[in-house]
């Protein structure tokens, strides 16, 4: 077991890689009532083509299967795992993102039992044709719910416009049509490939004793047998650096228009310190340009082009990265033009401005550490790309105005930008 100390943050992180390859991290937080634990596999919606375990050739699986599998793991021969968790006073959940599927619980009592339940239910799949069929109706309603949600349509419309081939452009839940092709055998095939402990990470945070907790996890894993870990072969999509389409307009039953400008990152580092630096630099720059203290924000607000919903965000994971800027607006074309102009014409940022933005970013990072959910989920995301959440402050501090200008030169070009709008149906 390794102990990593973060003196300035007054945190201690306990780490061990178990014999079966599972990475376990424990961050004690003794002031809190609850313990929050996530058990995550490095498997998400983008992993739609891979060599299944035991096979020799690549296979394409139906869109939405990672998310479908997440739903189905909760059902067991003797009933629903939600029932077990609630008997033990816990609240359980799960989510599927582009690159991860996470199972989690939080509880203020019976933490040991709940942790046992978490490890066991994720590691004991039970899929039948009948339960798979039943789930299709439920997930169809989940998809319909998003179909009627203009913000979700705008978000995916933008991503879809950025990518030619990369599966990040496909909705995480798939479509009602694509999930109709899912079978229990396909689920088992995905499960066998991606749910091996060596492809997973367990994070526990709360008022726990790290040594006892680690011992419990070790015992739980030793009781089970796993095959030897194998390297997972995922299909590498060829993706041009420019966007797939410049503009996309979605007509919907809404009263207020929405507009989002997407920035497709050209050069995405695969992992590690370089990647973290790239992400921090881009995040800082976009916040400098479009955050509430920026001259642009004030002007656009005064011109009535934006309102409180205006947001800016940058995501970088595995081999893709993109920025999103926009919100509700009465003039979607004007807003798109303004945002693109600000990006393309950007030329300079001075050291004083960089310092101010660093302060802001460091402060918000501290704030996010108030949340156990944030710590566990983000730590896992970073760890899967060989970065550390706790290096964020150091990385932010190291940024120079030259680093910032470099990311602008990389991404702020016409061919990297796309516009997506939701407008009222005529």
């Amino acid at each position: 077991m390794k102990v990593i100390r973060y003196d300035q943050l007054q945190e201690q992180l306990f780490y061990e890689r178990l014999n079966n390859g599972l990475d376990v991290y424990i961050l004690p937080k003794k002031e809190f009532n609850k313990t929050y634990a996530t058990f995550t596999t490095k498997y998400g919606s983008v992993d739609n083509c891979f060599t299944p375990y035991g096979k020799t050739s690549m296979k394409k699986v139906p869109d939405g299967i990672a998310h479908f599998l997440e739903h189905k793991l909760f059902e067991k021969e003797d009933g629903d795992v939600f029932q077990t968790f609630s008997k033990q006073g816990a609240s359980a959940n799960a989510f599927t993102s582009f690159t991860r599927t996470a199972y989690l619980f939080s509880s203020t009592t019976n933490v040991e039992e709940n942790l046992e339940t978490l490890l066991d239910f994720v590691q004991e799949p039970y899929f039948t044709e009948q339960t798979v069929e039943k789930e299709k109706g439920i997930i169809a309603q989940e998809i319909r719910m998003y179909d009627d949600n203009p913000d979700w349509r705008l978000y995916f419309g933008t991503i879809e416009s950025m990518y030619h081939n990369h599966p990040v452009k496909i909705d995480i839940a798939g479509t009602v049509e694509s999930i109709s092709h899912i079978t229990k055998d396909l689920l088992y095939e995905c499960y066998e490939t991606f749910y091996h402990p060596s492809n997973m990470l367990l994070f526990v945070t709360g008022p726990v004793d790290p040594l006892t907790t680690l011992e419990q996890i070790r015992n739980n894993q030793t009781k089970k047998t796993f095959r030897l870990p194998t390297e997972i072969e995922r299909f590498q999509y060829e993706e041009p650096s420019h966007v797939a389409r410049e503009k996309h307009v979605i007509e919907m039953n809404v009263q207020t228009s929405k507009c989002l400008v997407g920035i497709k990152a050209k050069h995405v580092y695969a992992k590690g310190k370089e990647k973290l630096k790239h992400e921090c630099a881009m995040g800082l720059l976009l916040d400098y340009l479009f955050g509430k203290s920026s001259p642009h924000y004030e002007r656009l607000y005064q011109q009535g082009l934006i309102d409180e919903t205006f947001m800016v965000d940058y995501t970088e994971e595995s081999d893709f990265g993109f920025g999103l800027i926009g919100g509700d607006t009465s003039q979607p074309d004007e807003l798109a033009k303004e945002i693109e102009r600000i990006l393309v014409q950007f030329s300079d940022i001075d050291d004083e401005q960089v310092e101010r933005m660093k302060r802001k970013k460091i402060g918000s990072f501290l704030r996010s550490l108030n949340s156990l959910e944030y710590i566990a989920n983000q730590f896992t995301r970073y760890a899967f790309d060989e970065m550390s959440l706790f290096d964020v402050v150091r990385t932010l501090q190291s940024l120079t105005s030259d680093d910032i200008k470099a990311v602008a030169r990389e991404c702020f070009m016409r061919e990297q930008l796309t516009v997506c709008q939701v407008v009222p149906k005529r």
């Binding site: 300035q8 943050l9 007054q10 937080k29 002031e31 809190f32 009532n33 609850k34 629903d80 939600f82 029932q83 609630s86 008997k87 006073g89 816990a90 609240s91 359980a92 939080s106 509880s107 203020t108 789930e135 299709k136 439920i138 997930i139 169809a140 309603q141 989940e142 319909r144 719910m145 009627d148 203009p150 039953n253 809404v254 207020t256 955050g291 509430k292 203290s293 920026s294 001259p295 924000y297 004030e298 005064q302 009535g304 309102d307 409180e308 509700d328 009465s330 101010r356 302060r359 802001k360 970013k361 460091i362 402060g363 918000s364 501290l366 704030r367 550490l369 108030n370 949340s371 156990l372």
Partner: protein, 425 residues
């Protein structure tokens, strides 16, 4: 649990909740007044105007730049209905300098900025800045209109509007679209002065501080005249003889089914704990009857849940379904309700539900926001009930209590937002 120190300073009630859980300190101001059609739109506008600028930082850019310098202090406002009260919340959150290797007293600077915002806003000729007010009027219009675009929120709003037609609770917290143009900067400022004199105002400070550390700083910066407590009367709905059914058609793919019940029980009542347990068995959680039957057994929905409005005596059921499944979904929901009335729930369900409610309450107070919400219940309800008593209350609920509180629950309105005919995909 959590400790809270309370001190009245003139017209301000200061609550300090000391805790070492967080890396930031949180300041939350709440202004409460009875829900009233005449002034709700002005109340909805005021906090958004205030967060733009102060005398000292007279533009959005200057104001926000100063927040950045305070290590990215955040400032947010929101509006809520708590029973027949309108509550404005202004929240500021600032890093605790001890994690920064910086020695400037950030909390004190945040308090100064907060009081500047309230007592020294940017004004001109006896009113707020005209430019800011006009800008915020436009933003408010857009906000009210956008409610229509979020179908889940829209359906919830429409249910309440139909169920409480003609009574204050039917009002939207953001006010009325048609009233916005009648408001000008001077009239709004006058109303704000009135609010400062008459609203019930609470300031919460949550973080690694004690009352003694901040009391003086607060007293120096927040001077509000003492005010008499307003008595609150709630409108009683006349009993409906038949359940009201409202069907609205729009271009949507999923139907939104929302049911409104009168629980005839609020946070003030001794059987409120039993109501929480009733709701928990019925639809509050993923082990509840609604989730198990509407979703897991019949595969009709992704979400199917119920929740109670603590201070209004209302319960809502919501489910997103295929438009053609309206009758089937209603039938299943009614059957669960019937089962609850007949006491068809196991002791296991009671124990399970109590455990989850207890967990939920304890988790709530792991966030600064949650601690404030738990404490603020006691302001709204004018009764003091520390969290440990609440937890004990839940523990003591018996099967008989659950059945008894259920007898008071009446279905009032069924609202269904569904697709237009002939638009089947």
């Amino acid at each position: 649990m959590f400790q809270e120190e309370v001190k009245t300073i003139g017209g301000l009630r200061l609550h300090v909740i000391p805790t070492k859980k967080y890396k930031t300190n949180t300041l939350v101001l709440k202004m409460k007044a009875p829900l009233c059609e005449q002034d709700i739109t002005m109340r909805a506008l005021v906090p958004y105007v205030l967060q733009n600028a102060t005398e000292r930082h007279p533009s959005m850019k200057e104001f926000r730049t100063y927040l950045d310098e305070l290590y990215g202090a955040t400032l947010q406002v929101d509006l809520a209905k708590k029973g027949e009260h309108h509550v404005i919340t202004i929240r500021m959150d600032v890093a605790n300098e001890k994690f920064l290797g910086d020695t400037s007293p950030l909390l004190r600077e945040a308090l100064t900025l907060f009081s500047d915002m309230l007592f020294r806003p940017l004004t001109e000729q006896g009113g707020f800045s005209v430019t800011i007010v006009e800008q915020e009027k436009r933003a408010l219009k857009q906000k009210i209109q956008s409610l229509f675009d979020d179908k889940m929120r829209y359906a919830q709003h429409r249910l309440i509007e139909e169920m409480y037609k003609g009574s204050p609770y039917a009002l939207d917290v953001h006010g009325k679209l048609n009233d916005i143009d009648t408001i000008d900067a001077k009239r709004l400022y006058k109303h704000y002065e009135h609010m400062l004199k008459h609203d019930e105002i609470d300031l919460y400070i949550v973080g690694d501080v004690m009352l003694a550390d901040v009391e003086h700083d607060v007293a120096e910066r927040f001077s509000l005249e003492a005010r008499p407590l307003r008595s609150t009367e709630t409108t009683t709905l006349t009993k409906r003889t038949n359940v009201q059914e409202v069907i609205e058609k729009q271009d949507v793919k999923q139907g939104k089914l929302h049911l409104g019940y009168r629980t005839n029980t609020t946070y003030n009542d001794p059987d409120y704990d039993a109501l929480q347990v009733w709701n928990g068995i019925f639809g509050g959680f993923a082990h509840s009857k609604l989730f198990m039957n509407v979703r897991e057994k019949a595969s009709l929905a992704y979400y199917a849940a119920s929740r109670i409005e603590s201070h209004q005596g209302m319960m809502m059921v919501m489910a997103g379904i295929e438009p053609s499944n309206y009758e089937r979904a209603l039938e299943i929901i009614h059957a669960q309700e019937e089962a609850m009335r007949n006491g068809q729930f196991s002791d296991q369900e009671i124990i399970q539900t109590k455990a989850v409610i207890r967990n939920q309450l304890l988790e709530t107070v792991d966030t600064a926001r949650g601690m404030i919400e738990v404490s603020y219940h006691n302001v709204i309800a004018t009764r003091q009930r520390p969290l440990n008593e609440w937890l004990e209350g839940i523990e003591k609920v018996t099967r008989e209590d659950v059945v008894r509180v259920g007898e008071k629950i009446e279905l009032d309105t069924i609202y269904f937002l569904t697709e237009k005919e002939g638009e089947k995909k």
